[in-house]
């Protein structure tokens, strides 16, 4: 449990905050609130770590665990150096937000204050009870479910082989494991990351991998609250219960799957598609490319749907053809770098993805 907490805090919180500070630095025009960037960044730590591991295993296979951990840590160190001045901005913003809430609360009439306390307490109690049950029970049950187990097995293979080679060779000769999907392996690589970190503590756990579905489902809920509470706080509350009243979403909170993980990136990519067309600032274009890339890196559905993002950007962006082409090309290149590359490799040297559908691969 201590190792899980360590991995969770490091990957999901610290790495995400580091990325957030870099994004704040890049938001020179101050078009986005720091809180909003932080909310979206909380999903970036795990997937960016997975992407780094992907490139390391692709270009530098068969090295020791230490090599990959150091490689990732060095990149985060560089990023934290780049964003070093903005950690304080984030803290100041957080303090300001707390003070603002305090002021709003103090200005409320006593009856409204009581009502706010009751609603907040109810929500906190609800969340704390769920998290308590989740950590003590749900997280302790063995990993189950077809897809999560298949991605997990692939993650174990990457960890054993220290190479992505077996993403393109099936079945895996040592166990005859046959992975029928052609999705990019970002979700699997998070188990590889957990095992790589765990190897230093002689631990062979999958708690972190199992927690991802819930983590991203909670992030999706937070995004819904963030946007709806801008309109009305009761609307946000209603939205949360409405989302949970769809059983499939409720399920993502308590089972282990990659659905919430892949949906998160797609939703944020659409938010930044809207921002890019409306605000046309550098960070919006950058994050449109990054989140679209990660949506592709998470799942084949994302890989197809982000093509529509690029098309929509080209069609609906205001400006002359040269400007539109320049921006769309930049975003497309970002999409490729942040995940779509896998499918290009797969089309030409792998299974052919959804285009050729080869049984055997050139890699194998």
């Amino acid at each position: 449990m201590i190792l899980f907490s360590l991995q969770f805090i490091l990957t999901n919180i610290i790495f995400s905050i580091i990325i957030c500070t870099v994004l704040i630095r890049l938001d020179k025009e101050k078009m986005h609130s720091n809180l909003e960037l932080l909310l979206y960044s909380l999903g970036l730590g795990p997937v960016f770590t997975s992407l780094l591991l992907y490139y390391l295993l692709l270009f530098f296979p068969h090295h020791s665990n230490l090599f990959y951990i150091l490689g990732i840590f060095i990149i985060y160190l560089i990023l934290s150096f780049l964003g070093r001045k903005y950690f304080s901005d984030l803290l100041i913003d957080g303090n300001k937000k707390i003070k603002k809430i305090k002021n709003i609360f103090n200005n409320l009439s006593p009856s409204h204050q009581t009502k706010s306390i009751i609603i907040t307490s109810f929500l906190i109690l609800f969340l704390v009870s769920f998290l308590f049950l989740y950590i003590t029970n749900t997280l302790q049950t063995p990993l189950d479910g077809t897809d999560a187990l298949r991605y997990g097995t692939l993650g174990k293979i990457f960890f054993t082989e220290k190479s992505l080679e077996y993403r393109w060779i099936r079945p895996y000769p040592k166990t005859c494991f046959y992975m029928p999907y052609n999705h990019a392996p970002s979700f699997s690589l998070l188990l590889t990351w957990e095992k790589t970190m765990g190897s230093f503590f002689n631990a062979d756990k999958d708690l972190y991998y199992k927690s991802l579905s819930t983590y991203y489902a909670l992030l999706i809920l937070s995004i819904l609250i963030f946007w709806l509470s801008k309109k009305n706080k009761y609307l946000a509350l209603l939205g949360v219960f409405a989302l949970l009243s769809g059983f499939y979403f409720f399920e993502t909170l308590i089972t282990q799957h990659l659905d919430s993980y892949r949906i998160f990136f797609l939703i944020i990519s659409w938010i930044f598609l809207a921002y890019s067309i409306e605000k046309k600032d550098f960070l919006s274009f950058l994050l449109l490319g990054i989140f679209s890339g990660f949506a592709a890196f998470a799942h084949t559905i994302g890989a197809v749907l982000v093509v529509f993002n690029c098309l929509a950007l080209f069609i609906f962006l205001k400006g002359n053809l040269k400007y539109k082409l320049k921006k769309t090309t930049s975003v497309t290149l970002l999409v490729i770098a942040f995940g779509w590359l896998h499918y290009i490799l797969d089309i030409f040297w792998g299974y052919g993805w959804i285009i050729f559908k080869r049984e055997t691969t050139w890699w194998g």
């Binding site: 063995p142 009761y234 409405a242």
Partner: protein
């Protein structure tokens, strides 16, 4: 209409999985398209992406895999609330309250209506009151002594537990390499492919999985059950080789440890006990007679009428069997349910077969035992009749065999086949 609601539009009308507010997206989308000229570019861009996403997911049979449709669910719901708010925000406070109450009722109704599904998952995952996980089976696969690292499993289960939790080789039933097996038209060639080409030794099966009839036939007739999990997982071992029928014949017919097991010899006459067999105190003269019509093996069988008796043979060379496993088979026919069975008694312990179900057919009963090293006698009670008070109950007995070692009925049936199904 049903096809549209349950398939193409299931994202909006599958209330169980996507709530009962999603359908509002359809009138909102129509309203959006009607008022498109007033819309901002980013709004149109998002609508463009959304419509194409819906079309793509439908083309990829998203409706038959609702997890694909889940992709759009949080977005659709958020949009409904955001656009809905834009529509009602300038209305009166009462109007807001009315809409909120209607939405709350709709949401609560959904939770209530599908409460069993929520309850099941809550118990299954959050409270974790029941253990649905086959811990023991996976442990057995990983650790059992005779499963060496070269053993290959045929994996027939939707839950992909095998590769994640075990260190064994396993070919999934849906693996393209299984095509060669699925192409086979009869069981013999399919079994040959399974054993020799795919080199499969074990079959790991969950009851929900539906393999083809040939595989089921193989499981029924050519496999031994190694372990059965309480949640419906089965582990079978494919028999290494078909038993050599000559060897079986030698073992079961020539080397049977019982004398006159097929009841062919009646030197004292057809109404006296057959040679080498005796009854206890309750087997009186005339109770055991030679039977010529109801016969399973050879020309005669033994017909016994009575209640509360043992019909047995005492093995003479006791020292040869001490500490050894023995198997006894007897063909038994009766209409009386749960009265007759086989017993082996060694002076210390008794071992019993199942009881005859009394369906009026010949049934092959079997008992396995290990003789106590301190045994004082070995008595094979080829028929033991329980006391029921009905002295006119009839049982026919034939083909009694006693062999050394642990065997099961499969081998005897294999021998029967060779002999034209008569034995």
């Amino acid at each position: 209409m049903e096809l549209w609601l349950e398939n193409y539009l299931s994202l909006f009308f599958d209330f169980k999985h996507f709530g009962n507010l999603n359908w509002i997206a359809i009138p909102l989308l129509i309203y959006f398209l009607v008022s498109i000229k007033k819309r901002k570019r980013w709004e149109i861009a998002i609508a463009f992406v959304f419509i194409f996403s819906c079309l793509f997911l439908s083309s990829k049979k998203g409706q038959s895999n609702p997890r694909y449709l889940l992709t759009l669910y949080p977005f659709v719901l958020s949009t409904i609330f955001l656009l809905g708010w834009e529509y009602i925000k300038n209305r009166s406070h009462r109007f807001h309250l009315g809409i909120f109450i209607i939405c709350t009722i709709a949401i609560l109704f959904n939770f209530y209506h599908f409460r069993e599904t929520y309850k099941f998952y809550w118990r299954y995952k959050v409270i974790a009151v029941d253990d649905y996980f086959p811990h023991d089976l996976l442990k057995i696969i990983n650790n059992i002594g005779d499963l060496n690292s070269d053993s290959t499993f045929l994996v027939c289960s939707q839950r992909s537990l095998f590769h994640y939790y075990t260190n064994k080789k396993g070919i999934d039933y849906r693996d393209p390499r299984m095509r060669i097996f699925k192409r086979q038209k009869n069981k013999e060639t399919a079994l040959d492919v399974l054993k020799n080409e795919l080199e499969i030794d074990y079959i790991y099966l969950h009851w929900e999985y539906k393999p083809n009839s040939i595989l089921l036939d193989i499981i029924s007739n050519d496999c031994d059950l190694v372990y059965q999990d309480k949640n419906g997982f089965y582990l079978y071992r494919i028999r290494e080789k078909e038993p050599d029928k000559k060897e079986l014949e030698r073992l079961f017919v020539n080397d049977s440890l019982l004398y006159n097991g097929s009841f062919e010899n009646w030197v004292y006459g057809p109404s006296k006990k057959p040679d080498f067999f005796e009854g206890g105190d309750n087997v009186f003269e005339g109770m055991v007679v030679r039977e010529e019509k109801e016969v399973k093996v050879g020309r005669y069988s033994a017909k016994i009428t009575g209640d509360n008796f043992n019909f047995s043979q005492n093995l003479s060379n006791l020292e040869d069997y001490k500490g050894k496993p023995l198997t006894c088979f007897v063909w038994v026919k009766t209409d009386v349910a749960d009265k007759y069975r086989i017993q082996i008694y060694d002076g210390f312990d008794s071992s019993f077969s199942k009881r005859h179900p009394g369906e009026g057919d010949w049934k092959l009963l079997q008992v396995n035992c290990k003789i106590n090293p301190l045994a004082t006698s070995v008595i094979i009670r080829v028929i033991q009749a329980e006391k029921t008070g009905k002295v006119n109950d009839v049982v026919y007995v034939d083909g009694a065999l006693l062999v050394e070692g642990e065997w099961n009925t499969f081998y005897l049936y294999a021998l029967s086949k060779k002999k034209g199904g008569n034995n």
